[in-house]
Amino acid sequence: MKIMVAIKRVVDYAVKIRVKSDRTGVETNNVKMSMNPFCEIALEEALRIKESGLASEVVAVSMGPAQCVDTLRTGLAMGADRGVHVEAAGQLYPLTVAKILKSLVEVEKPGLIILGKQAIDDDCNQTGQMVAGLLSWPQGTFASKVVLDKEKQLAMVEREVDGGLETLELDLPAVITTDLRLNQPRYATLPNIMKAKSKPIKKYTPQELNVDVKSDLEVIQVTEPPKRKAGVILSSVEELIDKLKNEARVI
């Protein structure tokens, strides 16, 4: 069984973000980029499934500008067997990504797709669900535990939901998105980084996959959130009620 893992190149989580002065987006020039932490967890899970013998190959997929190859190489260094890079300039929104993943699934025919639950730059939390919808595959999102059963072709996914933990049984092929507590991603070792240089990365363009990247969304403006105002110490209950009524307008 082949596992496809989608990884995204995002601004590193430790970087302090600034909004560009023209407010069209976030400053990404000269800023450290790395693999989305949830995608690392997804890749780690795929590698563990492969190491337990239930999968034969792990393919890492990434979409974006040419530098995505660096992120793919990190993925290959962690242990993925092959990489696929879909080169596309400009902002890619979840629906477009899902459509591209669907086209790639038709080419690669994996038995399982694992993604991170969301990217830390846009926090959309949509791509996994959309891919499952487009493919009509079952989905297990926010996975905190995954157990595969190869003979029955099932995946038992324990999900972290608001009410607690929910366990689902999915027929394979399926889509799984990973949450934080699923595993601890491994480090890429030096020897693996060197081996990764010779692993193949196949390149595609969205046109080759028959996907139109024009988006239905347009970002008009990006601003910083308003600065937190200082708290005010009130002197009496009447003052509190007055403020709640007239300033905050909640009663």
Partner: protein
Amino acid sequence: MHKSLSNSYKFSTLKRHSGSLSPFVPSIFRLNQTNNLQSQSSLTNSIKTPSGYSPFRHFNQNPCFFSSGYFPNGINFKGFGRNESGVSCAKLFFRSFCSEMCRESMAYDVVIVGAGPAGLSAAIRLKQLCREKNVDLSVCVVEKGAEVGAHIISGNVFEPRALNELLPQWKQEEAPIRVPVSSDKFWFLTKDRAFSLPSPFSNRGNYVISLSQLVRWLGGKAEELGVEIYPGFAASEILYDADNKVIGIGTNDMGIAKDGSKKENFQRGVELRGRITLLAEGCRGSLSEKLIKNFKLREKSHAQHQTYALGIKEVWEIDEGKHNPGEILHTLGWPLDQKTYGGSFLYHMNDRQIALGLVVALNYHNPFLNPYEEFQKFKHHPAIKPLLEGGTVVQYGARTLNEGGLQSIPYPVFPGGAIIGCAAGFLNVPKIKGTHTAMKSGMLAAEAGFGVLHEDSNMEIYWDTLQKSWVWQELQRARNYRPAFEYGLLPGLAICGLEHYILRGKSPYTLKHGKPDHEATDAARLHSPIEYPKPDGVLSFDVPTSLHRSNTNHEHDQPAHLRLRDPKIPELVNLPEYAGPESRYCPARVYEYVPDEKNQVKLQINAQNCLHCKDFQACDIKDPKQNIKWTVPEGGGGPGYSVM
């Protein structure tokens, strides 16, 4: 990540060159009392470490951990033959028993520690020489920062002298060197006023740059030439052979939890063996300092101790109208007093960005001095404040620099390699420039190293060429400026005037440095606490806010990399006698004295904040009892500078 064109890495341990190379024996480790893995590698014929430890004791231990399922040490079984030393049996034997301790090993011709200006210049120069002479050498650079340039911070007014020699086409190749110096101001500050003085610098022909960006560009150039650069890997130990020759370095184990146990993503460090090892760790590099001590390199060159300064820097984005690309300013005087050497800098880069900072020499006397707060004070000076109003801070960082100059340069060659760049200490203090000399030292070491590997010469040639180069000439001329300030600010300025205008580098004397920095701190009772104004959040900031801007992060669950040799000293000595200076000299608030449950004040080490300013010098340098020891944390952590 990086793309490397070189395929000349070798996995095997077996040497392909003739000539004597130490028999290869994997490293041997033992668990010390706190259960931290400590390694003592040794190449011996008798399979014992120098301390007599025998690996056979591990025969009954739990079978361990193969990081990726193939032979540790990368020994290719098929190609394994018997070598002259007859150690082969031992090696086979070894592999079965010492799996716990063995690390994978990779062999290169040259291993360079640190992807900074010196390290990358050396790497580039080596590959250039290879091309000229039509040979090949495998060159590997390890860097503890998460990417090349992440731990690079410097003023920086760049003198392109060394770069012109290394990569003369840098302009065509779009090096990030675009802002030539347009004006050069020098002020003496008092609390409210600024007096303009004639500038002692001649910066015509120099450029205002971000060194972090330049180093990133140099890294790209190095990779194009086939250098393998591995960011995110911290070199934590030196590897020796039986003759005490340096044969490479070992990287840190990753994935160790705070209590020393292995986490599920534990990854053993790797050995990088080089026929030549170049240490380019920058000022007060942890491995370089060990080597200097081990091989007594300071005594060998009759050098004095090294003296240091702490530089704290911020990059601001200011209003367009106030920005003047290429304008540089240096100040002396306020906020530092007459007995404390230091000064500030303010350079206009491009894109409306300015770099400003304060450098404080670490031999200050008053234990209540807080360099970070002095810097915040400085920004409020009436001549500086208007420039910053309306602007925002982009990044913050701190790093120590060496101020010892010529008098403190240790003998930079050791058996198996050399020390280059600020790790040795080639900074020209009156010019406040060390980048060009660091680069040149890297180039000279590369040339000497190439000679060793291909022409059978020896590494001592590096020392000779260094002393014949313009680096030495510059440092000769500059040697008396800094020590002159031992006599105070005004006498110091007078001597500098003498040196600069009259003697012009032909001084018949060489001034000596004063006491080492850690001995210079007076007891707290001789001084009174300094009241620093509260940060206003617009011009001045508190440490946590600034720290956030340095993009500093370390993996939380790892052993603290700052260790106390004696845990009782902070409360017994540092606090009562010196009023706990470490809580003040650290620019990242790593050290805090907080009351514990019993309301006793204890030293708390927030190692995660560490900016790697190597001020662990401050820790290591300034700590009156030299009690704090900085070790290198897990690679990939630390600050994330991009425009510093």
